[in-house]
């Protein structure tokens, strides 16, 4: 295990919950933007939100990632299933100094609710927002719900960029103190129409994306093709590209995910490798570690985004074993009672 260096403790203020001092050229006062703009290879992770009204559950789940990631994504009704809201999780996390990524899905909120939530989140110290279209209600546990989709992922980006940079709502009404946020979006290099995907990234950048986090990557040649086209267009210089990774538990689980989770592409070779292994969980972990090490070498990639639904401890083990941080230790919470 790497000894903690003073490294990223530079990214903390006196009060853990307070925004960091502003830096020139930065849109937010958060840690994720600082790490990326310094040129460090960033690691973000997705947190599984609790089905509970207990704040301690949020802190327990976040503690697993403490000192291992640069930001924690709080999903917004992922897969159209209901959990504690993203904005509330982010507000709780900022109180103790974590850098959360507030995910907004267009499925559940119209433009009035979204603009209000953006102001509220920024007031609570949330520095990063990920703009998503969102899964359809049909795939979730409450398919009877009314899908909203008033905005889409791209017009959502543009809406928040206008609020931040032009200090106004969509209606034109003035905003006294604009939200200082680092704006993100999702990409899926692995879904059709594949030729259109790099153009779609360019469109997201034009709409305001400063960083993107991708869908799970299990197909390295496809990623390399996509990144080559992005780099040829200089998109990696306009936007930090983080690639999504996660461990597969077994060949059976992989097949299930491929069939039931929208947008996840898993090549047959990956499933065969898992199926042929004696210990499939271990093989899934090793496969993920190898992928991370290979992704790190792809030109234009600025970091990884780890998604390990309900297997957060394994995610941390993977971050450690892959040595993706290169000896760097991200910010860690100084808890009372510790030295």
């Amino acid at each position: 295990m790497t000894a903690a260096t003073d490294g990223d403790q530079q990214d903390s203020g006196r009060d853990p919950g307070a925004p960091l001092p502003p830096l020139p050229g930065h849109s937010s006062r958060g840690r994720l933007e600082r790490v990326l703009r310094r040129g460090e290879f960033a690691v973000t992770a997705e947190m599984d939100p609790p089905d509970s009204a207990d704040a301690d559950e949020v802190y327990q789940r976040a503690a697993v990632f403490d000192g291992w990631v640069d930001a924690i994504n709080a999903t917004d009704g992922a897969g159209a299933n209901c959990h504690m809201s993203s904005v509330a999780i982010c507000a709780l996390l900022t109180r103790v100094g974590y850098a959360p990524v507030f995910q907004i899905s267009c499925r559940d909120h119209n433009r009035i609710a979204i603009q209000g939530n953006v102001l509220g989140a920024a007031a609570m110290g949330v520095g990063n927002i990920l703009c998503l279209t969102g899964d359809g209600v049909e795939v979730g546990d409450q398919p009877q719900a009314k899908p909203v989709f008033d905005l889409d992922g791209i017009s959502l980006l543009e809406t928040i960029r206008i609020m931040r940079d032009e200090k106004r709502f969509l209606s034109g009404r003035k905003i006294a103190s604009p939200p200082e946020v680092f704006l993100g979006a999702a990409i899926n290099p692995f879904a059709p129409p594949v030729d259109y995907r790099p153009l779609r990234l360019a469109k997201k950048i034009a709409a305001g994306a400063q960083f993107v986090q991708s869908q799970y990557c299990f197909d390295l040649p496809m990623l390399r093709d996509y990144m080559k086209r992005a780099v040829d267009q200089g998109l990696h210089e306009e936007c930090f590209i983080l690639i999504g990774v996660g461990p597969l538990a077994s060949a059976r689980a992989a097949r299930w995910i491929r069939e039931h989770v929208p947008g996840v592409h898993i090549p047959e070779a990956v499933i065969d490798r898992l199926a042929g292994a004696q210990d499939q969980i271990r093989e899934g972990r090793d496969l993920c570690i190898e992928l991370i090490q290979q992704i790190r070498e792809v030109e234009g990639v600025a970091g990884i985004h780890v998604m390990a639904y309900r297997r957060e401890r394994l995610a941390v083990e993977i971050i450690e074993k892959s040595a993706v941080l290169g000896g760097r230790r991200p910010w860690k919470r100084q808890q009372a009672g510790q030295a």
Partner: protein, 162 residues
């Protein structure tokens, strides 16, 4: 095996329109220059009269047949390869979501082609195929059910362009 639901009669023409996106682009550009812009004063005089309803019926009939039009009132077919983005189950107007299936069908309805896979196909056939890269503003829901043609004519009148 799942039972295939009956194919809606309109879906056949939807694909035809995408395959003939270039022809439709040519037709629309002439329609826009000659009819919409040329007769702008006439269209604007129609607004708010009983004749407006007639225009809506014609627009709905023609575009419903060709594109499965949903009368959003803010038509962008010229920038979406002649595949109507309102037929996307999420109504996405800025490109496909990340859930498109490997065979190009919709994540929510495997029996339907993704409206944006069709759009990309149609766009590649069009002469001015850079328009798909433009950002579409959030849809104005207060225009639902109104005529896009009349709305366009009114916009030109507002900004005084020809």
């Amino acid at each position: 095996m799942t039972v295939r639901p009956p194919v809606r009669p309109r879906s056949g023409l939807r694909r035809w329109s995408v395959r003939h996106a270039r022809l439709l682009e040519w037709l629309y550009e002439h329609f826009e220059t000659i009819l919409l812009r040329g007769l702008r004063p006439l269209w604007n005089a129609l607004r708010g009269t009983r004749a407006e309803k007639g225009v809506i019926v014609v627009e709905q009939g023609v575009k419903g047949l060709l594109f499965d039009c949903r009368m959003c009132g803010s038509c962008v077919l010229i920038a979406t390869g002649m595949s109507c983005p309102m037929t996307c189950l999420k109504g996405l107007r800025n490109g496909p979501c990340g859930g498109v299936r490997a065979d190009g069908s919709c994540e929510l309805d495997a029996e339907q082609p993704c409206a944006w896979v069709l759009a990309w196909d149609g766009n590649q056939r069009m002469r001015r195929n850079e328009r798909i890269a433009g950002l579409q503003a959030p849809l104005d829901h207060s225009r639902r059910g109104t005529s896009s043609w009349l709305n366009k004519a009114a916009e030109w009148a507002d900004d005084g362009s020809h």
